[in-house]
Symmetry: C3
Subunit: 314 residues, 3 copies
């Protein structure tokens, strides 16, 4: 069976643990390569630096040959559908695809019709599983567990792919998730099992303050907040940071709107794991690519290249 | 002498046979690499998925280092000519170029002035030799010969680079080519030696039904056909497919306009070789690149990597 | 200490000599590779063929893995700053960056805050150190020295990154630099130590006639010259070329506006080193990348791969 990765919801807890364990090993120097020359392509129908470059690094670390694909100069401009584009790349020998697309659940039309594994790099306002997994890895690295942790996810809940993916996975792994931010951006239906709290209360009690990006590009009309207003009401200000517990950490999927979601000087403060998240993104994506490629053929691990560490407690 | 590839017309029958023989060997696993590190670049002044990605895969399979070149961010935007761009890439050490350009016979100004082999990836409404060669390979794989085959090329003859290239090569290899489609899109002069037939007759008698893409982007003004009209009058409908001989196959250079040139459900039907054509594109391009690179230096074949098959009958 | 390269002004004479010595060795076949897999990325916020492709070739010759970065499809489009973009690439494991940016001294905000070496591929109307170094290499190859040479830099002095970088370096290396071109394009303040001469006098006495590109894209309003006017008044015409000393050479950073800065037929004449400059660009960029990478980790030279030549006289 082909191991696609479309959402974290579809991953069993054991599968999440396996991916995190592999990611940990990659962070410690594990070398894994598929057999023979394997090809990947990254189809990004939306702008990206972090996710795309992170996959590009991960693919090359695994020794893959990456076929460049630019939407703007592809036959998509001649009206070719996503399905036909994907089948074309499959036909010419690409072995795995990463896709980011503005349409929610773009992958539904591909499932069962494509013979190569697809990794979702973000779909509309839907899911962003590798972002979620890198967040999980960062939290696990910090605390060595999920059970009992309090995670406050703060901001533009409704438009966030990250909020959706993380709330589900963290809850299943035993953490407690609360939301905060503008109430009008909180979608009661899709996140009904979660609690909503005022920001000052959420920040005070959280082991992890996870800020979301205000996604200007997804708001149909100009929001009702100025940057300064948003920052004062819902951002991590210098004052709110002082209220955090001493061991608590700050996370943000980036790109950061400085002085909106978070005070400029906190982006690289001691509590911040924002750049650590980016680093972890590479390891998680290597693990996810390994999982996909192993579902279609073998690979080999150079066992001498790293010292395995016990991860049974994830 | 440098082995450029601009048109199939300029290739002798023996040269076509040699390229097809090499492509067959690549499809069977032959490994050929040039000596030392060799560089290629793909200059696509028109949009493409299939052709560009196919060359990108072919180049990497041959172990070439591919230098990315994006027209939109190049000095072409400062007014640099094609000649100066090509000479620049030659000067910095690129060993072979693939060029697609909107101008017919763009290569005429390059011949004799450039010291690296150029492969034409499509010129205006002129030629598209690697598409033609992959069509030939697909037909040969199917029938084991060209002599005596009836090939119906149907559609937008006048704007098609494929029609032009294929008609010439197939005729020289012993096949019989007939054309069909809108009569106003049939250019009497350039294709005068070929026959024009009504579509139902053409489909009935053909061993190969080769459909052409309606190239909206090349029609100066909106054509006189709606999609439904075109499909009914000149498309491969479900009814027409039933009239085909039992052994006959369907080909299309893609991207397909579904339900225009061909009924949606026929694109991946048993007769269809549309995705096989794409796969063959990689082998043909590997063969063409090998031919070009061998004209400027040596290379080596790993003879043990495949079992050679007799191709004397091509 | 990290070896960035922002301007040639900041390089000591000995450092320039070391880079040129390494570039000469690379031109003679020296092989140098960093240890392990190293990543680079080329961030070009302005259009380029020569500089970008030249770095792409240089990086691959050194065995680097190049992470593609297209400004137009990056998070820069979401408003991400240069600093955050650079820190992101650092976090995901990119080991060195080449940046071209339209803002003068864009690098000032990066110095001391970034832990990977940055090579300036051109900043606004400021500097273009690798262009300057390749010009120096081309001159040294020709004359075997700088002391006592007369270099005439002719054209759009004010907007030229090359004029600025070259005037400083050449003077420090012992050459005499004179400027010519439209007087209104000559910035007295920034180049006060240099001499301005009428073009015919400058051409007559020069060992090197270094033409500058008329940078249409940098002139705020349409200049006061037609192409023909400029050519007649300030260009290297066929007549002026005849006045050059027999041993004198012609240089131009390209892309050339043919029949503006230089008569069309002189671009590839015997005196012209314009394409030699491009070839040298690769060697110089290999040397500069080597210098940067050596400042963060080791590397190895295959000593048997070339015959070292004495370069003590640079």
């Amino acid at each position: 069976m082909i191991n696609h990765l479309f959402t974290t919801n579809e991953l069993k807890v054991e599968e999440i643990q396996q991916i995190l364990a592999d990611a940990m090993k990659f962070s410690e120097g594990m070398v894994w390569k598929p057999e023979g020359q394997m090809f990947s392509a990254n189809l990004f129908f939306e702008n990206s630096t972090r996710t795309k470059c992170s996959f590009e690094v991960a693919e090359r670390r695994l020794g893959l040959s990456v076929i460049p694909f630019e939407v703007q100069t592809s036959s998509v401009q001649k009206g070719e559908t996503l399905y036909d584009t994907v089948k074309t790349l499959e036909a010419i020998g690409v072995n795995t695809l990463v896709i980011r697309h503005g349409q929610d659940r773009y992958f539904d039309e591909l499932v069962g019709r494509v013979n190569i594994p697809i990794i979702n790099g973000g779909d509309g306002c839907g899911h962003h599983p590798t972002q979620s997994l890198l967040d999980l890895l960062t939290i696990y690295q910090e605390f060595g567990r999920f059970a009992g942790l309090k995670i406050a996810i703060i901001g533009d809940i409704r438009h966030s792919r990250v909020a959706r993916s993380n709330a589900d996975a963290l809850t299943r792994l035993g953490a407690e998730v609360v939301f905060s931010g503008p109430e009008e951006w909180f979608d009661q239906h899709s996140l009904s099992s979660q609690k909503f709290k005022p920001i000052d209360e959420a920040v005070l009690q959280a082991d992890v303050v996870m800020l979301l990006r205000v996604q200007h590009e997804r708001h149909q009309k100009k929001g009702s907040f100025t940057a300064a207003d948003y920052h004062r009401q819902f951002g991590l200000t210098l004052d709110r940071e002082k209220q955090m517990m001493s061991h608590a950490i700050i996370m943000h999927p980036a790109p950061v709107n400085r002085n909106v979601e978070i005070a400029d000087s906190l982006v690289e403060c001691k509590r911040s794991r924002i750049f650590k998240q980016m680093e972890n993104g590479v390891y998680v994506r290597m693990a996810v690519l390994k999982r996909s490629l192993e579902s279609i053929q073998g690979g080999y691990t150079n066992e001498n290249s790293y010292s395995e560490r016990q991860l049974s407690s994830i």
